[in-house]
């Protein structure tokens, strides 16, 4: 190994990743060359100083405030993420609500548009009771509308919260099956009727929409 080569490679002889052949020939050269030996000695002194510096800074780490700031950033982002995900869900919720509205609208359209409901009921009592014809068009309209109904003959009163309202379009003559008197000459007319149905599924009360003219029916 020449002095030039020693300057380039010789100082690496103590490194763990040094080439073994290079290290051997560097040692041999340093043993035979005073100048390169002096250079090696100077380098070893410097290496010791570098070790001192390394030891002196070995356990340094970022101050605790950095960790605190980063944790704060994580928390802020986590909190900010909650409303964002709600916003992200909104279009889906709107779409679902829209689809539901269209479906309900279509069902209403198919069954005929319901007219305004009025509390106009003066039903005379009768001793007969009956059930809704299975092929009658029905719609579950609400479960909490308990506005003035007329109790059907022979029905048992029960708490209102357990009952549901069924909107039914039916021929006026069918009301006779619930014990209501019907004028025979108008029995073929179609009317919109709300039934108040109990937990047992039996209608308990009835109300007719204003255009259905319950009064005239019950003549």
């Amino acid at each position: 190994m020449s002095c030039e080569q020693f300057e380039l490679l010789g100082l690496d002889m103590d490194r763990p990743d040094a080439q073994p052949e290079e290290a051997v020939s560097a040692r041999e050269h340093a043993a035979s060359c005073e100048r390169c030996f002096a250079l090696l000695q100077s380098w070893r002194e410097l290496q010791q100083d570098l070790r001192l510096l390394q030891e002196n800074t070995r356990f340094l780490s970022a101050p605790a405030r950095v960790e605190m700031r980063l944790k704060q950033e994580l928390r802020t982002r986590r909190e900010a993420r909650v409303p964002r995900s709600t916003v992200a869900m909104a279009p889906w919720a709107l779409a679902a609500a829209g689809a539901l509205a269209v479906a309900v609208g279509w069902m209403h359209w198919r069954d005929g548009s319901p007219s305004r409901i009025v509390n106009k009921a003066a039903v005379s009592n009768s001793s007969r009771s009956g059930t809704i014809a299975p092929d009658s068009p029905m719609l579950l309209a609400a479960d909490s509308d308990s506005g003035a109904f007329t109790r059907l003959p022979a029905s048992m009163p029960s708490p209102y919260e357990n009952r549901e309202i069924l909107q039914v379009r039916m021929q006026r003559g069918a009301l006779g099956r619930f014990g209501l008197p019907v004028a025979q000459d108008r029995a073929a007319e179609w009317v919109q009727v709300d039934f108040l149905v109990g937990e047992d599924g039996v209608p308990q009360a009835v109300r007719l929409h204003d255009d259905s003219q319950l009064d005239s029916t019950l003549q």
């Binding site: 380098w43 100083d49 510096l53 390394q54 002196n56 340094l60 780490s61 101050p63 605790a64 960790e67």
Partner: protein, 199 residues
């Protein structure tokens, strides 16, 4: 499975979703080496602190920048740290020396030393001289010295960290050593020459 046994990409995913525990595992694993590198390169505890904070903020805010198929998280974090350090060195002159570490409130503590006060003073002076000499090196030579001598990386690891061939690292280290030797000789001979002149 314990959190410490989880792989880093999985931990990172959890951390980004707001899992503080997962984030802390990653932070504690990498922060010290990144901080030391930044501190040894910049000589400024403030700059090192800022660099480490920026690196971890980046991984929180833009985790998609780390791609596990392109390398380990540690290598990615080191690359980002290195870029930030280089930007800092381009932008600003060296701000203050490492003396100020305690004043800046870092976690550094004087190691317990059984030496006499005289020996401690001498040792501190030597450390200070070599620290000044390292910080006075041109950036690329300083980096080679920091990585290969202070961080004890192999040539290959250092070359990978710097994104250059092994030969370049060896050459930079060779130049860095030569400059360090010359600087320290100057620093240490100056008082000797002064005292010789006074006699």
């Amino acid at each position: 499975m314990k959190i410490l046994d989880e792989k880093e990409p999985a931990l990172l995913k959890r951390a980004v979703r707001g899992d503080e525990g997962a984030f802390l595992v990653l932070y504690q694993k990498h922060q010290a080496s990144l901080y030391r590198y930044a501190l040894r390169m910049t000589g400024s505890p403030w700059a090192a602190e800022e660099v480490v904070q920026e690196v971890f903020l980046l991984i929180i805010r833009e985790p998609q920048k780390f791609q596990p198929d392109r390398g380990a998280l540690g290598a990615f974090l080191f690359g980002v740290t290195r870029n930030r350090v280089m930007k800092h060195l381009e932008r600003l002159p060296r701000e203050d020396s490492l003396d100020a570490i305690n004043a800046h409130g870092t976690t550094w503590r004087e190691p317990e030393d059984p030496l006499t006060p005289m020996m401690i003073a001498e040792k501190s002076e030597r450390i200070e001289q070599v620290r000044e000499a390292v910080l006075g090196l041109p950036t690329e030579f300083r980096e080679a010295v920091v990585l290969c001598e202070l961080e004890e990386m192999s040539y290959e690891e250092a070359a990978q960290a710097c994104g250059c061939p092994v030969g370049t690292i060896r050459s930079r280290l060779h130049r860095g050593r030569a400059l360090l030797l010359a600087k320290l000789e100057l620093l240490r001979d100056a008082p000797r020459r002064a005292s010789a002149g006074a006699k």
